[in-house]
Symmetry: C2
Subunit: 328 residues, 2 copies
């Protein structure tokens, strides 16, 4: 950033006052100093720079060409410092700043992306950087300061709402649907219209995420709530891979509605009735003194955008529709 030979701004300020008032004495009075101090400051600056700054002009002094050149640059520097102060205030107001978001992939597609489009209008000064990151890693990145905001799914090891280190806001409840291959015996007309009880799939082979992945914990928890432990035959990292396995008849799976754009053809989607099959998506920022105003602004926008997406939450996707209401 800066090397050793310092260009002291305080001294530059003194030089500017001499330039503006015309004499050392007047500058000293304006700076609440003695003429001696002003003289010493400027001669010190001239010594450091190795160039003469003042030259005698009759009774008073005159600035050399170097000094005037120096002051031009000083004015630019001064403006930049003013801008720094102003930006510091704007940061506190949440109007500018850099927000690094870590989010799961479906969260990026469904909430973070639309939020960025909106923020570009309402808060053009906020610079958003998105990084797709898996759930357990996201929290440590938030702790180490490499991320400012995390969008994740709730699961066993996720931070609690009461955790004082964070501000946690739930964004959306993402219903999970059962997906079966076309032609599967359970893919009946009645199930398609009214939903299916999860218990019926207790003896099916299952496709899930890797056991270390929070998504697999959700599947396990949902099935446990339905009274069985799924027979997981295949483990995938991404939803589209799992959907492809199901389409190939390798098993059944629970896939969240926000991942709907990723499902290939050859699948039957059945809403779950009875036990609540869903995953909770929430956002997390640091709280207390470590809170970042622009991150909080982004958080609020995420909440707004999520609230305008009812498609994932309540409606049964296969119920007769009276009209197309939502965009995606």
């Amino acid at each position: 950033m800066l090397d050793e030979p310092f260009l002291d701004l305080k001294r530059l300020r003194v030089l500017d006052e001499v330039h503006r008032r015309g004499t050392v004495s007047a500058a000293a009075a304006a700076l609440h100093l003695t003429p001696s101090a002003v003289s010493q400051q400027i001669s010190g600056l001239a010594r450091d720079l190795g160039v003469p700054l003042l030259e005698k002009q009759g009774r008073g002094v005159r600035l050399t060409g170097q000094a005037q050149l120096l002051l031009e640059h000083g004015a630019i520097v001064s403006e930049q410092l003013d801008r720094a102060r102003a930006d510091l205030a704007a940061w506190t107001d949440g109007d500018i700043g850099k927000v690094r978001i870590g989010a799961l992939s479906t969260g990026i597609a469904s909430i973070v992306g639309p939020s960025m489009a909106r923020l570009r209008e309402t808060h053009p000064g906020i610079d958003i950087r998105v990084r797709e990151v898996e759930a357990p890693e996201a929290f440590t990145l938030l702790d180490t300061g490499e991320l400012d905001l995390v969008v994740s799914v709730d699961y066993r090891d996720a931070p609690l709402r009461s955790d004082p280190r964070y501000t946690r806001v739930d964004l959306i409840t993402d219903r999970m649907d059962v997906v079966l291959p076309v032609g599967h015996p359970l893919a009946t007309e009645a199930a398609w219209r009214d939903g299916i009880k999860l218990e019926l799939l207790a003896d099916e082979p299952w496709v899930s995420s890797a056991v270390t992945d929070p998504c697999s914990m959700i599947t396990a928890a949902v099935c446990a709530a339905a009274g069985f432990s799924p027979d997981i035959r295949h483990e995938c990292l991404e939803w589209d891979a799992a959907a492809a396995l199901v389409a190939a008849g390798a098993g059944v799976a629970l896939i969240p509605r926000l991942a709907r754009p990723l499902r290939p053809s050859g699948l039957v989607t059945l809403p779950v009735v009875g036990s609540p099959a869903s995953r909770l998506i929430f956002a997390l920022v640091r709280a207390g003194a470590h809170a970042s105003p622009p991150a909080t602004v982004v958080l609020h926008t995420l909440v707004q955008v999520a609230a305008e997406r009812p498609d994932a939450a309540d409606r049964y996707p296969n119920a007769p529709r009276t009209g197309e209401r939502q965009t995606a």
Copy 2:
């Protein structure tokens, strides 16, 4: 320029080193300081600014969002200071700088203008400001620092070449021609071809400048060298006005060749033979420690351009020409 609450660059430098090294101790080692000093500098900066800059992160520290924002501005400020240092060196080399020129009007037209066109190519960093200014005032403006370079005519009170306060360089000897109204008895074919002796005009009414003007002193000096004192009936400030009076038959005059574009029709121009009728145009810059390198560069260019204008110096304007050689 700058107000009281100073944003100390030295402290910003310390903060930057903490950001780059990651810990206070490492930054202290890099800066050849103790961790204690680094800690105090940063907490002092944070206190002045009223914003937290560091927050605890496990055993070490982490920069707050404000601090990172501050460092972004600090980098810009640092670049600007580097540029200031570089510009200071460039000024010493004469590559950049502001040069305020004071010149007489014919000097502007014949030498300063063409020099500016050339300097725009060879030294685009030099910012030239021209001001037309009369001779006696020009020297005081040079002394008070309001001008950096003066182009003037030599006369009685002009600074000598030996004056240690200045560097004086003669640019061009501007021959002065006798101008008579068309039909004047002395405007003979022989005079037109071979020149006229000034003594023949001793009894004519004269048109000259104001007596306070150095140009009138030149006319007086030239006539005195020819052995007479001219009977000055009319006084003008500009050459074109004098030429108009001559054309109207109000008298005769000596008009320099560099003012040729200003002469109206209805005049006969006769070269002077015998006594040397000319005025010396020279350039002046401050010398010694007050010398301005860019002004010196401009001075050299003036000399070059003047040397390429032989039209004013030697040739008889009315002698049979073998070919057109010069531009204007």
